[in-house]
């Protein structure tokens, strides 16, 4: 069994375009951008929709539930950790860490739910744990 010891998470460099995402994350809410023109959600969040180029993108609150699309346990480091991609119920896939679980038990297709972890001197970021 490889357990998660908390490693120090580097802070994201926040800019005005994405500040609402990290403000929400620090309050425990996962936000996505959805396009008012084509109706599709996307990630990472942008002011301009990557599908139809509309500037009518809006913040929505995501369910925080999804499944593991892929992952890898980084082992040759002082504190092993699992990087992964999680596909949210809203249909977008995001890079994250799978945390608070036995790293050896992680599998593609497992259901996960969002948790928020503080970063080193910055806002919280969304990570996922087995549901």
């Amino acid at each position: 069994m490889t357990t998660t010891t908390e490693r120090k998470y580097p802070a994201p460099a926040v800019n005005p375009e994405i500040k609402p995402f990290f403000d929400a994350a620090s309050k425990g809410t996962l936000m996505l951008k959805k396009c008012g023109a084509c109706g599709q959600a996307h990630h990472y969040p942008r002011a301009i929709c990557p599908f139809c180029a509309s500037d009518r993108t809006e913040w929505i609150t995501a369910s925080g539930r999804g499944t593991i699309y892929s992952y890898s346990v980084m082992r040759r480091v002082p504190v092993p950790y699992a990087i992964g991609y999680v596909t949210l119920e809203e249909g977008v896939t995001m890079m994250t860490n799978i945390v608070d679980c036995d790293l050896d038990a992680i599998r593609i297709g497992q259901r996960v739910k969002v948790v928020f972890k503080p970063t080193d001197g910055g806002p919280s970021v969304p990570m996922f744990t087995l549901a």
Partner: protein, 389 residues
């Protein structure tokens, strides 16, 4: 409009160093440049076009033209990581076809080992203001764990195995034993690859390329000049390039941008995968080769494992000889950018100048492919097909 037959690769050079403690970065670029020019039978005063990427020092072509004393009328700094130099060959051919230059010089160099930056297991500091970085960097993306996620998904979706991936390293090692400059010349077995330490699941240490200092250069010239030189004629037949990214969150890690760059190159060259006698495939990791070969059409999607297994990539043994210099997995991965050396070995094969133990018989059409950036996030794919005349 096509580049087919409009430009020839007249000079190649692979810097022999693998650890450059005593040279500067600009010096490595210049030594590589002079090596390729000498190989072609040209001098620096013949150069009127210069191509470099993000590894070049200072302000790229300005700094290097200054250092080498070049008088230029065409510059290109296309930067797509390790695939840049494959794109540069195509862009050089385009520029030559349009009359923008006659002798194009492409250089690459780097000294990650000498600078103590020889690692693929520490996240690289994000490029300033990269829009993706705030949504990735906190999660510890490294070169190896990003590619590992592509491998993990490919295994899940198609049943690809670690043993199949290991065959790619085995083939590279079989070739590297004949290359006196290769960093790793020891032949390895499938078992040795699988039993090497797990770096980031499912990639073992021996699934990963080497990290080396060094460099290389390529000289591309217009047909009239090529035919005047005393070197075997290697012609650019076709090329393709494409970025692949996360598509707004519709992520699919099982294929690469080669699904676009490959067909474009084959169409321009007027050949099919069955016509290719030798392939240089960017091998940052074993999985990079497998996915690329599928995407280029050498195997159906998901069937790459069967294609690479059982020695099928070994020259003289299998049907699809690849990376006969030992590739990035065993020979050389200068500056963490392996695209240039891919073109170099393909040209050696087309000239009949590869090591006799790995030279492909009747090698008249060859393909070189670069994957720069990361299969796990975003990358630039570049394919060039060349022919012997």
């Amino acid at each position: 409009m096509t580049i087919k037959g409009k430009a020839y690769i007249a000079g190649i050079y692979e810097h022999p160093t693998r650890k450059a403690d005593t040279q500067s970065l600009a010096q490595l670029h210049a030594e590589s440049a002079m090596g390729a020019l000498a190989d072609a039978g040209l001098t620096k005063d013949d150069v009127d076009g210069y191509f470099c990427a993000g590894d070049a020092p200072g302000l790229g072509p300005l700094s290097m033209a200054d250092y080498m004393g070049l008088k230029l009328r065409h510059m290109d700094t296309t930067e797509t990581g390790g695939s840049s130099y494959v794109i540069h060959v195509a862009h050089a051919a385009e520029a030559i076809a349009l009359g923008k230059c006659n002798v194009a010089l492409i250089t690459l160099a780097g000294r990650p080992r000498a600078e103590g930056m020889a690692t693929g297991t520490v996240p690289r500091a994000p490029v300033a203001a990269a829009p993706d970085a705030p949504f990735e960097y906190p999660f510890g993306p490294t070169v190896v764990n990003q590619y590992a996620m592509a491998a993990m998904r490919h295994m899940y979706q198609y049943g690809t195995t670690s043993a199949q991936l290991a065959w790619i390293k085995v083939a590279a090692s079989q070739h590297a034993q004949h290359n006196p400059h290769a960093l790793l010349r020891e032949v390895v077995t499938v078992e040795e690859v699988i039993n090497s330490p797990m770096i980031s699941d499912p990639l073992h240490r021996l699934d990963c390329c080497v990290i080396t200092d060094g460099g290389g250069a390529i000289v591309v010239v217009k047909p009239e000049i090529a035919k005047r030189l005393k070197r075997p004629l290697v012609k650019v037949l076709g090329a393709g390039e494409a970025p692949k990214h996360q598509m707004g969150g519709k992520i699919d890690l099982t294929y690469s941008g080669a699904v676009w760059s490959g067909p474009a190159a084959f169409a321009e060259a007027g050949v099919t995968p069955a016509d290719i006698k030798y392939v240089s495939i960017y091998d940052s990791f074993t999985i990079t080769v497998l996915i690329t070969l599928e995407d280029l059409g050498f195997a159906a999607k998901g069937q790459g494992g069967k294609l690479v297994a059982d020695g099928n990539l070994i020259s003289g043994v299998g049907k699809l000889p690849f990376n006969t210099d030992g590739g990035g997995l065993c020979n050389n991965h200068p500056a963490n950018r392996g695209g240039l050396t891919k073109v170099v070995e393909a040209v050696r094969q087309l000239r009949g100048e590869a090591h006799p133990n790995v030279q492909v018989k009747n090698c008249d059409v060859a393909l070189a492919h670069g994957t720069g950036g990361s299969l796990g996030t975003r990358h630039g794919s570049a394919t060039v097909i060349m022919g012997r005349e």
